[in-house]
Symmetry: C2
Subunit: 281 residues, 2 copies
């Protein structure tokens, strides 16, 4: 009997699904290029996620959907190719004006070997508002149906952005996040992502009220990972924070070079050249 | 009269040439992606150089000429597109088995808007030996002739690797570096690059004996930039050091996430999200 050519991807997707249900909280390390992905994996990360902002910055673009679709897909492919662990792809609002276009983007991501997608309900045009809830729910439903048909059970992580966009009052954000997360869950999403929530009591309420695994973002003020696990959070990611930290280090290296003319910041604590090469062999 | 479509590149190449002859020592900041290039420029760098190792790592490859030619060109194009300052491209031994193929690579780099190339005389197969001196000289001569015909006076930086490869005795390295640099200069190279030399007296000898501008690499033990200038060095670059420092920071961020479950290393000193976005607008 011929082996299913997708079997490797199917196995990886199932393993990634399991990490959302069993064992400790899942730390998805957000990479921006092949090097960061490989370094995260080598350090023990169980899964890598692409982050839209980090990937965009790395290729010279602002965040959003400014970086062309084909370049985003190439970047996702490079990150998938750099590691053996499951990779989930941040595709912002889905890189498409229509549900069909978004479904096509998800199919492309699956074809690259990614086993997860993040789809957010921020306005695609960058306005500080959410997409219509019914339309967004239909988008998630169509994506989940396409995933089912693909035969590769990737993790659809539906993100809702009331906290991220600071919309309305704290009570508004909480109720909107719960309502939308549950709509997306009913439409088939495997994980629900509420970035920028940091208050422990609020996180506990989200865990209790959302009928599926919760993903939070490790922004400033976020409880440490052990506490997130105690609160019942299933997955934590970092967005562009690590990438922006490396950009600050790069800035400081440049400032040293151009003012004091010294090298300590890149000589004293760098992965040696030979070791860096071995990481990619 | 129609404006020469290459005029912008011609002006930039001339400006880059001048930076090798006039004013302070030129600090070429070695970038590996669009973000690092943009951060270097924003910090005041007068020129950016791609570094073969940093670019390779960023795209998930070991150093050398393992990363496919087309991907290297795309990466160079992204870095050129991310900044206004002159960009010089590290093309290792030239990405070609024949002189014609190397010339073709240089033409491709010029077409992308880069205004400099580094070409090294390490063995292209990764052996710790130098390419035949006569063949390498002919390669440099052919590249310089192609540059002249292109009408864009890019800076050809000819690198010689006796110190880099630790070949023979200290006296052997010095005499071989001087002899080869002068051959490459006679063949038309605009700048001569001797990486891994760190002793001040040796650097002074190289400056005195090589009949053209000298580029050194800021490896461990290298004198600070002010001292390099006093010694007569015209250009200093960093290779993959800054990139490998950001890889180490990435590793430490991962170790924190996966052991203590904390975020200080990417929260306490990162370029803020909004500011990072503005850098690319």
């Amino acid at each position: 009997m011929p082996r299913n050519p997708l079997q490797g991807a199917v196995d990886k997707a199932r393993r990634f699904q399991t990490l959302h249900r069993e064992g400790d909280i899942l730390v998805v390390c957000n990479a921006w290029d092949g090097a960061s992905a490989r370094v995260f994996e080598h350090a023990g990360a169980q899964a890598v996620g692409t982050g839209s902002a980090g990937v965009a910055f790395s290729h010279g673009y602002a965040d959003g959907e400014i970086m062309p679709r084909e370049k985003v897909l190439a970047a996702i492919g490079e990150i998938v190719g750099a590691v053996d662990v499951p990779v989930t792809a941040d595709i912002v609002t889905g890189y498409g004006d229509t549900i069909d276009a978004v479904v096509d983007m998800v199919r492309s991501v699956i074809a690259l070997g990614a086993v997860g997608v993040n789809i957010e309900d921020s306005d695609a045009l960058g306005e500080a508002r959410l997409a219509d809830a019914s339309l967004q729910t239909e988008k998630i439903r169509a994506v989940c149906e396409a995933v089912r048909k693909s035969g590769v059970p990737i993790v659809v992580n539906a993100r809702t952005d009331s906290y991220w966009l600071k919309l309305g009052s704290e009570a508004d954000r909480l109720s909107e996040s719960i309502a939308r997360a549950n709509c997306y869950r009913e439409a088939g999403a495997d994980c629900l992502f509420v970035p920028s929530v940091v208050d422990a009591r609020t996180i506990k309420t989200l865990v209790g009220e959302i009928a599926g695994p919760l993903n939070v973002l490790a922004v400033a003020g976020c409880p440490p990972i052990a506490q997130l696990q105690q609160l019942g959070v299933r997955r934590v990611s970092q967005g562009s924070g690590p990438m922006r930290a490396t950009m600050m280090l790069t800035r400081r290296i440049a400032q040293d070079l151009l003012s004091s003319g010294t090298y300590a910041r890149f000589h004293d604590d760098a992965i040696p050249y030979a070791e860096a090469n071995r990481l990619f062999e």
